[in-house]
Symmetry: C2
Subunit: 484 residues, 2 copies
C-alpha cells in the first residue's frame, strides 16, 4: 500500500483545512477541540460511522494529580504534590519512562481535570477506598494502581488518582465521549465519518502537507496547512503487527479495543520515517480482584513458588505471570476466601483437597513444592509478615481453612485482555520524531498511536491511557494550531 | 540529519556501481562477495579504516546443521536432520521466530559451511564435548546452546552445531574475516574505507537508487543501479536508541560490539519507511561457565528461590536473571565446586558460612528462604532429580561440602555483555519491508541491521549471529545482483 504520496504531484485538493485530525477517539477529539479553540480550521477524519474510539469502550478513568491535587482530590481532602506524583510515575516505569513526557503530564494533569469537568463531564465528590478495578459505588475518586503495594508504597506516599465520571461504573467512556464529541461538533470542526486516511502527502522538503483519504468510496486529497495529527489508536487488532511486536502476548491474549485499532496511524508514521518505540510492550490484564478477598490467596508458578505480592494492580500481575515458565500460574486459596473472580470466566479449578499435600498431588505440582511454599507463607502471615514479597498486612491471613483449592490462572487458559503500549516516538507536544530524534515537520501523534506515559504492564494503572490520550491529544492540537 | 535525499535532485554522481554494500563486517563482506560472484559491479563503503566489523571481534562460531549434517558434522560421525535442526530453532524462539527465515537457514546452512570452508577458513575435524562457551582445544565442533538442557532436550535430539575455525579459540573472527576480506578484495570489488553512508537516494517512484556518503571529508553521491545493502551492524553503541528500545538492559550492560554499531543502517532503513522489529530484545551474556563445575551450584533470586536449570546456555540465564526482582541473582555453591568464573571479574562474595543458615543470615536473604531452597534441592539431587527445573543429572550434586558461599551475580554489578537483536524487518532475501510488509524496492539489509534468526536471549546460542549474518548477507548479495 502506498502510504506516502508526493505532495507536488497533487493537482487539485478536494478539501482544505488548517489542522487535520485522523481518528475521533479520546485523543483525536481532544486534539480537534483544542486546535479549534486556538483558532485553527479543523477537520476530523473518522474511519467508522461514529466517533468514540477505544476511549468510548473504557470506564474512562483518568490518572490525574499533582500541583497539590486536582480539584476533585482537594475537595475530598486529599493532597497530591507534583513531586509525589512524579516519583510514583517514575517508579512505575523506571528506565522505560519518558521523563520529559512524565514531567509535562505531572505539571498539567490538575488543570486537565478542570478542562474535562469544564466540558460538562460530571464527577461526584466521593472517594471509594476499596480494592476494585472500577468503583461501582458512583464515587469519582479511587486507587487504581500499585500505590499501596510494595515497592511503590516505599517510594511515594500512596494517593488515589483514578478520576471516574460520576455514577458511570464501566460506562464512563460513554459519559466522556458523548460530551466531548458534542463539544467538538459545536466548535465548528468539520467532522467526516466513514473516512479512512490511507496516505500522507509529503512535500519535497519533507513536510507533511495533508492526506489521501477514502471517503464515500473514492480517494480524496486533503490539504492541511498547519499539520496532520495521527490519533487512530494502537495496533492490538492488527494480526501481522502483533505477531511481529508482541508475539507472546498475541499468542494468548484477548484483544482489547475497538476494531479500528489496526495501527493505521503508526504505519503511516513509520512510512514517513517516524520512529516506533516501545513496540514490544503491552498491557496484560489478569484481574484477580474483585472480589478483593482473592488477594488473600497466593499465586504460585509451575514450580509451586510464589513470584509476586498479590496486592498489586492487575496488569502488574499480568506482567509477572507472563515471565513465569510457560506463562502458567495458579491461585492457591482456602475455603474462607474462595470465590470466582468477577472478570474471568475461564479460570478452572485444578485441584481441591482437605490438605495442601492433597492439592499439590492432585495438581501434579513438584512433590513438596506447594506444601513448602504454603508453610512458609502461613508461618510469616500469622505474624503479619511477608518476607519474600511484602504483601500489605491487610491481606496477610494464614491459608488454613480447609478445603483448599488450586485455580488455574495460566495465561493460555485465562486469555487476559491486552492492548499495545508502543507507538511513534514524539515530543510531549505530539511532534513525531525520526530515529535521529529530528521532528518530522507537520506530523503529530497522540493517544496509542504514540508511545505515551504508560510503558509497561508492570507499572500501568487504570486511567493512564485515557488520561494520557486526552492530555497529549490537547497538547498536539495546540501545537499544530500554533503553526502559521 | 537528512537521511533521505531525492534522487532526481542529484545532478552528478561521483561514482556508479551495481550493488552498493554499506558496512564491511561479516554480513557486508559476504553480501559483496556473492554479488560480485553473481557478476554485479560491487562497491563497499566501510566507515572505519579497516573492515571486519563485530564479526571480527567474535570467536566466529557459526551455528550450522541440517540436511543430514554439515561436512564437518558428518565427518565427525554426527547426523543432523533438517527437521531436528528446524525443531530446535523453533523451540528456541517460539512465537518470536520468523518461520520463513528459519526455514531458509535450515535448508541452506550445510551448504553455507562448504562455502565458508571453500573460502579457505580452516576447520579441524575434532569434537569438543565439554561445557564451555568457546572450545579452547582447537577443535572445530562443539555444543554452544541449550541443546542438552530442559526443555530443549525433550523437543529435539541434542546435536552439536557450533562450528569454530580451527585452533582459533576466541580469535576465530580474525581467522574468518582475514580470509573473507581478502576474497572480496580479490574479487574486483571497489572497497572504500573511511566512507560513511549518511543518506539514501530515493526516486519519486519510491525506489532506493544510491546513497550520499562522506568520503575524504566531502559528500559523495553514489548511484547503485541494482540495490543498496545495509549491513552496518546493530545499535548497541547508540545511547539514544538503546535508551528507547532496551532501557533496562542499557542501564546495566556492557556494550558488546565494535564502535560502529550505532544503528546507522537501521536509522537509514527507518527513514526510508522500513519497519524495525524485535527492537526490545537483546543478548545478555551471564557466563556462569567456564569452569563447568559452577553448573553444580544453584542460582537463587532475592527471595532465595531458584528460577532456572543451571545447565542452560549463558544468555538464557541472562534472560531469566533479567526478569527477577531488581535483576538480582546469586550463586549458592559449596567448597567442592567453588571457583571464580572465567568470564566475569565483578562477581562478589556476599557471604560465606559453615551452614546454609549462616550464609542466608549474613546475606540478608529472607529468613529460612535459602535454607528451604537448598534443603529441597539437595534432597532431590541426592536421587538425581530436579523436580522444579530439570537440570540434567550430570550436574545434580547435593551441595553439602562446607564452607558454603553466596556469590552476587546481580546484573547491576555483573554488567553482562549485551548486543541488540532487533532490526529491519526483511524477507529471507534481505529485501527490506514496510509495516505493511511491502518491499521497499532497491533496499536490502543483513546482519544485525536486520532482525535475524536469533530473536531472544532466552533461545540464543553462540554462532547464531555470525551464522545468520554471513548466510543472509550472501542471500542479500545474490538477490540484489539479480536485479537487472
Amino acid at each position: 500500500m502506498q502510504r506516502i504520496v508526493e505532495f507536488e504531484s497533487i493537482e487539485r485538493f478536494d478539501h482544505r483545512t488548517g489542522v487535520l485530525v485522523c481518528g475521533f477517539g479520546g485523543a483525536g477529539a481532544s486534539a480537534a477541540l483544542e486546535a479549534r479553540r486556538a483558532g485553527a480550521a479543523v477537520m476530523v477524519l473518522e474511519r467508522f460511522s461514529g466517533g468514540g474510539g477505544s476511549t468510548m469502550l473504557s470506564a474512562c478513568e483518568m490518572y490525574l494529580g499533582g500541583n497539590g491535587g486536582t480539584r476533585l482530590q482537594r475537595e475530598l481532602g486529599i493532597e497530591d504534590s507534583s513531586e509525589n506524583f512524579y516519583n510514583y510515575l517514575m517508579a512505575c516505569f523506571g528506565e522505560y519512562a519518558d521523563e520529559a513526557r512524565v514531567r509535562a503530564y505531572v505539571d498539567g494533569a490538575a488543570e486537565h481535570f478542570d478542562w474535562v469537568e469544564g466540558l460538562g463531564v460530571p464527577y461526584k465528590r466521593g472517594f471509594f477506598a476499596g480494592r476494585d478495578v472500577v468503583a461501582l459505588t458512583g464515587d469519582s475518586l479511587q486507587y487504581t494502581g500499585n500505590e499501596r503495594s510494595f515497592p511503590f508504597s516505599q517510594i511515594a506516599t500512596p494517593v488515589p488518582r483514578g478520576h471516574l465520571p460520576a455514577d458511570s461504573g464501566h460506562d464512563g467512556g460513554k459519559t466522556l465521549m458523548s460530551v466531548l464529541l458534542k463539544r467538538v461538533a459545536e466548535s465548528g470542526t468539520d467532522i467526516r465519518h466513514d473516512a479512512r486516511v490511507n496516505a500522507l502527502l509529503r512535500d519535497r522538503g519533507g513536510r507533511i502537507r495533508g492526506v489521501v483519504a477514502r471517503i464515500d468510496n473514492r480517494n480524496v486529497h486533503i490539504l492541511a496547512t498547519q499539520g496532520v495529527i495521527l490519533a487512530t489508536g494502537g495496533f492490538i487488532m492488527n494480526e501481522e503487527m502483533t505477531r511481529r511486536h508482541i508475539p507472546e502476548y498475541a499468542s494468548y491474549c484477548t484483544r482489547h479495543g475497538n476494531p479500528g485499532d489496526t495501527g493505521d496511524g503508526i504505519q503511516l508514521g513509520i512510512a514517513a520515517g517516524g520512529h516506533a518505540i516501545n513496540m514490544g510492550q503491552a498491557f496484560v490484564g489478569v484481574a484477580h480482584y474483585p472480589p478483593a478477598q482473592l488477594t488473600c490467596g497466593i499465586f504460585v508458578n509451575e514450580q509451586g513458588q510464589r513470584f509476586i505480592n498479590e496486592d498489586i494492580y492487575l496488569s502488574r500481575l499480568g506482567h509477572f505471570a507472563s515471565v513465569q515458565t510457560n506463562h502458567r500460574i495458579f491461585l492457591f486459596i482456602d475455603n474462607e476466601h474462595f470465590s470466582r473472580p468477577d472478570y474471568h470466566e475461564t479460570t478452572r479449578i485444578v485441584a481441591v483437597g482437605e490438605t495442601v499435600a492433597e492439592v499439590e498431588q492432585e495438581a501434579g505440582l513438584p512433590p513438596g513444592s506447594l506444601a513448602q511454599t504454603v508453610d512458609y507463607y502461613n508461618r510469616h502471615a500469622a505474624s503479619g509478615e511477608d518476607p519474600l514479597f511484602h504483601k500489605a498486612r491487610e491481606w496477610l491471613k494464614p491459608i488454613t481453612t480447609a478445603p483448599f483449592a488450586l485455580v488455574d490462572w495460566s495465561l493460555d487458559t485465562l486469555k487476559p485482555t491486552c492492548f499495545t503500549l508502543g507507538g511513534l516516538d514524539t515530543l510531549p507536544t505530539g511532534e513525531v520524531l525520526t530515529a535521529d530524534r529530528d521532528v518530522i515537520p507537520g506530523l503529530y501523534a497522540a493517544g496509542r498511536t504514540a508511545a505515551g506515559i504508560p510503558r509497561t504492564a508492570a507499572g500501568y494503572a487504570s486511567g493512564m491511557s485515557v488520561g494520557d490520550a486526552t492530555f497529549f491529544g490537547r497538547m498536539a492540537g495546540r501545537q499544530a494550531a500554533a503553526h502559521p
